[in-house]
Amino acid sequence: MRSGLRIGCVAAAFLAAAPLVAAPEQALKPAEMKSALVLDELSMPTPGEFFAAINKVERPNWSQLGRKAGPLATTNRAQASLNLGTRVADGFIAVEAQDGQQVKNIGKDIIDLAKGLGVSQSILARGNSIGDFAENNDWSALKEELDATENEVKHQMAEQKDDELVSLVTIGAWLRGLQAASTVVAANYKPESAKLLRQPAIVEILVARVDALPERLQKNELVGQVRAGLVEIQTDVTTAQTPSAETVKAIQKTTTQLIDAISGPAAATPTPAK
């Protein structure tokens, strides 16, 4: 039986040297940890990983955690990027629920949002693949395809000098994943699953990403709201090793408010599974 279920921040060190060189015995120093590279695709877990960990301690009714999409059309590129991230996480939820039609709908939403951001060209094929995999109930392939689609959008954003939007996609996906997971845990509190919500290293990275955004984006009202919410979550998850039931509810409330702000009032918030 596994114990100590929680998220861990680790550093992988790669050293060019002869094999079997003795590794240092002591823990990394704070300065060494600070020098570690943080790479969006490699350092951040996918919503699918989060949900897989949740599945090991809970049996959530994932279909109850789905939601309808809010309005996708917006001239606010920051909002569109955040929303795109939330829809990727929605895709993972639909895969967990094994709802092929919902996966296809979400795939279409992702393409539409990407079009609005001018990055749809190379991900059109991804949209078709998502549809095909959903048609064939290939849930395993869908998880990888959703992850790849998100990364392809980010690559195109970077290519067209929209690097700052990449972070917002990541934040949107993470927030929606945390919202769904906190809803599961709040409905049936267990310390083992509550520990999975405690992700201080990730919140720290995301707050730093927001702080690194250009000034015009930081002045965006929604981005400001997201930053404030992230800081609230950061406070919630750094105080105790195991978030209490109250803390879990606070995380659920904060993330739900942010998701509603990102996706619009038409998007239904998830109903806690009883």
């Binding site: 596994r2 114990s3 100590g4 279920l5 929680r6 998220i7 861990g8 921040c9 680790v10 550093a11 992988a12 060190a13 790669f14 050293l15 060019a16 040297a17 002869a18 094999p19 079997l20 060189v21 003795a22 590794a23 240092p24 015995e25 002591q26 823990a27 990394l28 060494e32 940890m33 020098s35 570690a36 590279l37 943080v38 790479l39 969006d40 695709e41 490699l42 350092s43 951040m44 877990p45 996918t46 699918g48 990983e49 989060f50 897989a52 960990a53 599945n55 090991k56 301690v57 395993s140 990888e144 992850d147 790849a148 998100e150 990364n151 999975l196 992700q199 290293a201 990730i202 090793q241």
Partner: protein, 134 residues
């Protein structure tokens, strides 16, 4: 019990290590970063692909970089305890790898073996038990 596995993919090139070697491998064409990256990534993907049959999922990301002899490169990765992870690395010279948590070294460190393109390939795993992660 449903098992869910993930593979974290990292591909690494050791261009600097090769250049520093007193007997560099003869080459008629210069190795460009692009070619080295593609080659290293392909080898790491090939290695990771072997795990797919066992139900592992590949985290769709990779790192490519030139490592200097004796100097390590640290990459922060956030993992969920309860999930099992493998790291795959490939390079054109031996790579030594270790993992640490943010506070203490892993109870069972990733052993220092190499994934060495064109010579031999070994698979190394992150500890499946993650009690030391905090």
């Amino acid at each position: 019990m449903k098992r869910f596995f993930l593979v974290l993919l990292a591909s690494i090139s050791l261009l600097h290590a090769q250049e520093a070697s007193p007997t560099p491998a003869p080459s008629t064409t210069p190795v460009t970063d692009t070619a080295a990256e593609a080659s290293a990534r392909s080898a790491a993907l090939e290695l990771a692909g072997a795990f797919s049959n066992d139900g592992y999922k590949i985290r769709d990301g990779y790192y490519f970089g030139a490592l200097e002899p004796g100097k390590s490169t640290l990459i922060e990765v956030n993992l969920f305890a309860g999930n099992e992870y493998w790291f795959c690395a490939a390079g054109n010279a031996p790579v030594v790898s270790s993992t640490w948590s943010s506070t203490v070294k892993m109870a069972r460190p990733w052993s220092s073996r190499a994934t060495w393109m064109g010579r031999r390939r070994r698979r190394e795993s992150l500890p499946t038990r993650a009690e030391s992660i905090s």
